[in-house]
Structure formats: C-alpha cells, structure tokens
Symmetry: C2
C-alpha cells in the first residue's frame, strides 16, 4: 500500500511526459534534435551545418543537379538556397555551370576542394550515426530507418505539397 502523501498544495517532483511520448511527431523531433546537436558538435571542424552537408552530399551524388532539384529534394525554398550556393562558391567547394539543356538553370558540381571536404566529412557522419545508434542492434537500426521512410516516403510517388 502506497504511503499517503503529505497534504501540501500541488507540486510536481517528476514531470510526467508519457502522453507526449506516445506521439510520433514529438519523438521524431526529439530524435532529430539529438542527432543534429551531435552533428553540429562533430562537424564544426569541417565547418558544415546539417543542411550544408545535405546539399553538398546531393551535389556529390548527383553531378549537374540544379538548384531547383536540390530545393525539391531537401524541401528548401529557392531564395534560401541562393545564399548557401554563393557561400560554397566563395569557399571554392562548389562550381556553377550553365545547364546544357536549359538556359535558365545552373548545373552544380563539387570542386576538387569540395570533394576533399566531403571525403573527410562523410566518415565523421558515419561515426556519429554509429554512436547515436549504439543502443540499437544493426537490425533494429535498419528497421527504424525503414519505418521512418514509410511515414514520409509515399510508395505511390504522389507530389508533396508544402
């Protein structure tokens, strides 16, 4: 039988977060913040924020990708990408080139410096991912990625609006 509490006005000793923890949105955001915090810490020597890494990674794996394609893939608004690309150009990480088939567009490529930067940064990301996933078995980790993708990647490639 539980010991009766003293009759004091309502105070909270341990916060009950169980309801929030039953919500996918809450849990996904907490995990995203956890990983992003560690990411920024570890990637500081490489001078890359998460979004920088995402952009450079897509250019690396898709040479000649356009700004518009980057914006669609990463859910970035075009005006907010312009500054990033300009900064990358100033730092000699990215090179812009007229698109061969569309005179309005610019094709994006990593420079040699950009390739080198990413070659150093990717293992750092791999390492921090491994640490974050440390409490999960490899099978659990793969399952987690798969379940997350089932949420945001429609099997039918219907256009996403935002």
């Amino acid at each position: 039988m539980p010991i009766p509490k003293k009759n004091i006005p309502a105070t909270v000793d341990k916060v009950d977060s169980r309801y929030l923890e039953s919500l996918l949105g809450y849990n996904a955001r907490r995990v995203a913040l956890t990983v992003i915090d560690l990411f920024m810490e570890r990637m500081a020597p490489h001078d890359l924020r998460p979004v920088d890494f995402s952009v450079l990674s897509l250019i690396r794996n898709n040479p000649g990708i356009t700004s518009r394609q980057l914006c669609t893939a990463l859910d970035i608004l075009p005006p907010n990408l312009v500054g990033m690309i300009s900064t990358f150009e100033k730092k000699k990480l990215v090179r812009r080139q007229p698109h061969p088939l569309d005179g309005r567009a610019m094709a994006l490529f990593l420079t040699v410096d950009g390739e080198a930067r990413m070659a150093l940064a990717e293992p750092t990301v791999t390492q921090l991912e491994a640490e974050v996933a440390g409490r999960l078995t490899p099978a659990e980790f793969q399952n987690l990625l798969h379940l997350l993708q089932k949420i945001y990647l429609p099997s039918e490639p219907a256009p996403r609006k935002r």
Copy 2:
C-alpha cells in the same frame, strides 16, 4: 542490355538521395517535418502550434509544474517560454500561482478554458497521428516509438546538455 545514353553533358533526371536516406538524422527530420506540417494544418482551428500543445499538455498532466520544469522537459530556453506563458494567460488558458514551496517559482495550471481547449485538441492530435501512421500496423507503430525513444531517452537518466 541497357540502351546506351546519348553523349550529352551531365544532367540529372532523377535525384539519387539514397545516401541521405541511410542517415537517421535525415529521416527523423523528414518525419518530424511531415508530422508538424499536418499538425499545423489540423490544429489551426484550435490556434495551437506544436510547442503550444506540448506546453499545455504538460501543464495539464502535471498541475503545478514550474516554468523551469517545462523548459527542462521540452528543451526550451527560459526567455523563450516567458512570452508563451504570458500569451496563454492573456487568453485565459493558463493561470500562474506562487509556488507553495519556492518563492522564486510560479506554479502553472490550466484554467477551465484551457482544459476545454485541450479536451478538443487532443482528439485532433490522436486523429492526425492515426493518419500519419496509416501505412504502419499498430505493432510497427509501437515499435517505431520504442526505437525512437531508445535513441533520445537514455536508460540511465543522465542529464542532457544543450
């Protein structure tokens, strides 16, 4: 045998995002954005952003909780909570009361209006969660929450820094 491509300069037709999709941080952020977008859409009639809902939910389930406890539980900085609480007070959703055991602190409670607002809002959240999880079986959904929590909820309750 694949048909040889025409010899044109590098252009990208379909963006290859497979590397990013192998990263937990990327997937968690995409899911968080997906759920938050739907959340804001559905909760607009209730005039509650995700963070508003989280704060009111914690007050509801922890009557007498302090601002400091809210900040710790939700990873909000104290200066950024002040305005929210003030707004809630103006809207008669939350009531502040001197803390019975700590003269510096304020104990927070929902008003009758606040309870009513949350009583309407919670079913909306339950509904949208069910929709987002629609592609998953109930067992998969529970497993997803469990795996996410293993990432950000340490079994040993070590203090998080940020």
